[in-house]
């Protein structure tokens, strides 16, 4: 982790990846709108988005596998835009690995070294195979290895070249859930150990948040928001980000008054308070704002006990429509006049037996957990439809 922290000041040379106005169009289809992006040296950077959002195209432009229609790619101070992939100090871990089926593991890992004319590769390759714990498998063919092992070969094959940047294109997509969790930690460990900049493309928000220091959420060829995982989760600036990273509830509200750094809004009959610092919507009086709150921030109190709720909390009323018990928590869907399908996750500490479907309840939360978004956008943008990127 320390390598990451030390070098987060931009522009001091070395191994920063700097994309300037880079864009890609195929005919009339714009895969990536011109964007500027700087990935500081030594960081673990994730490009997160649904399939077809342009994240892989962006990655391939850094690798040199795709020619940008506009803009430039800099590695440190070197402009590599015109360089073909085999002349760039960048290596890629491909989706489904692309291990050479006709070469054994050793030769796969040695491939890059040999192409650069390095004669004695044995020691380096062996060390690298040790790093990924595959020393025993050197003489096997790729198809004789398990998915997780193949994945580690792909990482070793790229890392042995000491690239300035390692690009990972959905590197864990082909693995099952348990192995994926394991490899996430493994990759994180390797990155910390070698201190190389990692740029990681994924559609899995959990993966991005677990591994990366900085996440860029992409949608329809644009970067929607960029920041640390916590920042993105707590302060989403668009409904897409709010929905794509976890779940969000939205209430359409009207600006009532603004006092200091607090905005008071009207929704249904009640009032909601929103910290000004957490609002990204225009706040002219009478204007619309989407008030968002995460399901786990909300407490649920039976309507009979409404009086016990402390003052100063945002509150709305509703009726429980569904509840499902999932062990660590109970997930409720609450029907409310201001928002149907309000999701609430309640920790299973003291279970209130009255909270069953049909029960009248009050939802309340600390106003500090409220965020405000521009109402002029699609509330459902980025809601996961269960599609997995395969191709």
């Amino acid at each position: 982790m320390k390598t990451t922290k030390d070098t987060t000041t931009a522009g001091h040379g070395g191994g920063d990846v700097r994309l300037t106005g880079i864009g890609k169009t195929y005919g009339s289809f714009t895969a990536v709108h011109p964007l500027d992006l700087t990935v500081p040296q030594g960081s673990f950077f994730a490009l997160l988005g649904a399939s077809g959002c342009g994240k892989t195209t962006t990655l391939r432009m850094i690798a040199g596998l795709e020619e940008p229609t506009s803009g430039t790619v800099h590695l440190g101070d070197q402009d590599v835009t015109a360089l073909p992939p085999y002349k760039r100090p960048v290596n890629t871990v491909f989706q489904s690995y692309a291990l050479f089926p006709h070469l054994d593991i050793f030769e796969n890992v040695a491939f890059g070294l040999r192409r650069r004319g390095i004669k004695s590769v044995k020691k380096q390759v062996e060390e690298m195979l040790e790093l990924v714990q595959l020393g025993e498998q050197a003489r096997k063919k790729p198809h004789q290895l398990s998915g997780g092992q193949q994945q580690r070969v792909a990482v070793a094959r790229a890392l042995i070249n000491h690239p300035k940047v390692l690009l990972l294109d959905e590197p864990l997509g082909a693995l099952d859930l348990k192995l994926r969790r394991q490899m996430q930690l493994e990759l994180k460990r390797i990155q910390t150990e070698v201190g190389i900049t990692f740029v990681h493309v994924t559609h899995d928000q959990e993966e991005a948040m677990t591994m990366a220091d900085t996440v860029a959420v992409m949608n329809a060829g644009r970067v929607e928001q960029l920041g640390s995982p916590t920042d993105l989760y707590e302060n989403p600036r668009t409904t897409f980000v709010a929905n794509f990273l976890g779940t969000s509830n939205f209430i359409e509200a009207e600006v009532d008054t603004k006092s200091g750094d607090e905005i008071v809004l009207k929704a249904g009959g009640g009032k909601l308070v929103l910290p000004g610092a957490r609002n990204s919507a225009p706040t002219t009086a009478g204007g619309k704002v989407l008030v968002g709150v995460r399901p786990e921030k909300i407490s649920l109190t039976h309507a009979d006990d409404a009086g016990e709720i402390p003052e100063g909390r945002n509150r709305i009323t509703g009726r429980i429509a569904e509840s499902s018990f999932i062990g660590v928590s109970t997930q409720f869907v609450v029907d409310s006049p201001v928002c149907s399908d309000f999701e609430v996750y309640v920790q299973n500490i003291d279970r209130d037996a009255r909270l069953v479907p049909g029960a009248e309840v009050v939802l309340h939360w600390n106003p500090a957990h409220t965020f405000g978004l521009d109402a002029a956008q699609d509330i459902d943008a980025g809601v996961e439809t269960g599609e997995e990127e395969v191709a």
């Binding site: 690798a63 040199g64 596998l65 073909p84 992939p85 085999y86 002349k87 960048v90 290596n91 890629t92 491909f94 989706q95 489904s96 692309a98 291990l99 050479f100 089926p101 006709h102 054994d104 491939f111 890059g112 192409r115 650069r116 003489r139 096997k140 063919k141 004789q144 094959r157 790229a158 070249n161």
Partner: protein
């Protein structure tokens, strides 16, 4: 009842084996009759056991010359068709270009046409051009009709190849030439080999097209054809049997080697 059930369950196996017997029967006959000592010119009825022909396979004038000519033709035709066909296959899979439909039908049509039609029309061309029929006209014809088969075989292989493999090679500092030699070619090799083998077999065994365009040049199938009219020497059976045995042995040996290599690696 149990027999009926047994029979029913094995009906497919029995029918399949009967077909296999049908396929192999002529080869058995060819082999048996290579040990015949026929009276008269034709080798169609069994007379007595003899190994004379096996001791002197080239004992008939023109037989071994025709065999060597056929082998040479097949070799060159394979080389030409494989080279041209592989290039076309790569272009078809890897690139976009105009008139793809026309290109596809130009490749498909030679396979969808009876040989006699191709043979006759090619002869018309050669006659019109006043070309001297012989080795070169046969070679041209063989390359022509083998080409499409090579394209199909190679195309299937190249199509199933992950384009990311070549991108990975480029990413790992291999230039276009290195990428082709180190990655593309080795991976496409089984398809190219299959195409080449097919071309060799087709060319070596071709009769109809050769018959039309050979002039007075005699390939091995032409020799057999001629002998069928005038009288078949036993040596023809000897050559046929030998080729069958050599082919089976070659395949078996390559399979054993392949198996052993796999087992060592595992």
């Amino acid at each position: 009842m149990t027999f009926v059930n047994w029979f029913k369950r094995r009906l497919v196996v029995i029918a399949g084996l009967l077909t296999l017997a049908y396929l192999l029967l002529p080869n058995v006959v060819v082999t048996v009759f290579s040990f015949n000592n026929p009276k008269g010119r034709f080798n169609y009825t069994w007379q007595e056991f003899s190994t004379e022909a096996w001791k002197d396979p080239c004992g008939v004038s023109g037989l071994c010359a025709s065999l060597s000519l056929s082998l040479q033709l097949a070799l060159w035709a394979t080389l030409g068709a494989t080279l041209l066909g592989t290039m076309i296959a790569f272009a078809l899979v890897r690139y976009r270009f105009r008139a793809r439909g026309a290109v596809n039908s130009l490749i498909f049509l030679p396979m969808a046409m009876p040989e006699v039609v191709m043979a006759a029309s090619l002869l018309t061309l050669f006659l019109n051009m006043g070309a001297q029929l012989g080795f070169w006209t046969i070679l041209i014809a063989h390359i022509m009709f083998c080409l499409s088969f090579v394209v199909v075989a190679v195309k299937a292989r190249v199509m199933s190849m992950d384009p990311r493999l070549e991108q990975a090679a480029q990413d790992l500092y291999a230039g276009p030439f290195q990428t082709f030699v180190r990655v593309t070619l080795p991976i496409a090799a089984p398809g190219i080999a299959a195409g080449a083998l097919l071309a060799f077999a087709l060319s070596f065994d071709d009769f109809i097209i050769t018959n039309f365009n050979a002039g007075s040049t005699v390939t091995f199938p032409m020799f057999v054809w001629g002998s069928a009219q005038r009288g078949t020497p036993v040596q023809v059976n000897v050559i046929g049997t030998a080729m069958f045995v050599i082919a089976v042995l070659l395949v078996l040996v390559s399979m054993v080697i392949g198996n052993r290599r796999n087992r060592q690696k595992a």
